[in-house]
C-alpha cells in the first residue's frame, strides 16, 4: 500500500469555489476522497479527475451516482478512517 502524503476530503458541490481550490492543490502522492455533495464530481463532464481518487459509497448510493471504478474507488466509513490514519496529513475542504 503506497503511502499518502495528504488526504484531501472534499464535500463541496463541483460549482463551489473550494472545489477548485482543492483540485488545484493536489500533488503527487496525495489522495482525494469525495464525500457528500463532492461525489457529483464523478458525473460532471466539465471535470477531469486524475490520480488517486476515492468516493464514499453511501453518498454515491444516496445520489444514485454510478461508481466508475476506473476513476474512483468506492469506499465505506471504515476505509475512510483507515485513509485518515494512513495519510501524513488530512485537509477537509
Amino acid at each position: 500500500m503506497a503511502s499518502i502524503r495528504t488526504l484531501h476530503i472534499l464535500n463541496k458541490r463541483p460549482g463551489h469555489p473550494a472545489f477548485k481550490s482543492c483540485l488545484s492543490s493536489l500533488e503527487n502522492q496525495d489522495a482525494l476522497l469525495l464525500t457528500e455533495n463532492g461525489v457529483l464530481a464523478l458525473v460532471d463532464k466539465g471535470l477531469t479527475l486524475e490520480g488517486c481518487v476515492y468516493a464514499l459509497s453511501p453518498d454515491l448510493k444516496a445520489r444514485a451516482i454510478p461508481g466508475d471504478a476506473s476513476v474512483a474507488q468506492a469506499i465505506d466509513y471504515d476505509e475512510m478512517v483507515a485513509l485518515t490514519a494512513r495519510a501524513q496529513r488530512v485537509i477537509s475542504w
Binding site: E36, A62, R63
Partner: protein
C-alpha cells in the same frame, strides 16, 4: 400568480433543496400554480433510484415523480445542465420537460424563488 421554484442545489448535502421542494408542494396544496426548474447541480435531484437511506435520509425521487399528481404544473430541467451531468431519459425520472433556461422560461412566472 404563477410561481417558479428554481432547484439549483446539489441533493442531500444541505437542506435548502429539500426546503425549496416543500415550498413548491405547499403552494400546490393550496391550489396556487407552481412549477419546478432543475438547473446546475440541481438536475441531480432527478436521477433514478436514489437510495438516500444509505445516509439515513429520505429519498425524494418518488415524490418528484408524483409531483404533478400533487398539483405541481410542470417539472423542467435545464438541457445544458442535464448534458453536463450525463442525465438522459434512461437515467432521469419520468415526466421531466427539457428546457433551454436561457430562452426566457423565467419570464413566464410572476414569482421566482431561488433558495441559493
Amino acid at each position: 400568480m404563477k410561481t417558479l421554484v428554481i432547484m439549483n442545489q446539489a441533493p442531500y448535502g444541505d437542506w435548502s433543496g429539500r426546503e425549496a421542494l416543500d415550498m413548491a408542494f405547499s403552494l400546490a396544496a393550496f391550489d396556487q400554480p407552481v412549477a419546478l426548474l432543475f438547473t446546475g447541480d440541481g438536475v441531480n435531484w432527478l436521477r433514478r433510484e436514489q437510495e438516500a437511506a444509505a445516509i439515513s435520509q429520505k429519498a425524494v425521487d418518488r415524490n418528484l415523480a408524483a409531483a404533478t399528481i400533487f398539483g405541481v404544473t410542470a417539472l423542467y430541467a435545464d438541457q445544458q445542465s442535464c448534458h453536463r451531468f450525463g442525465l438522459d431519459q434512461h437515467t432521469m425520472i419520468a415526466g421531466i420537460t427539457l428546457a433551454d433556461t436561457n430562452a426566457g422560461l423565467l419570464g413566464e412566472y410572476d414569482h421566482v424563488i431561488s433558495l441559493s
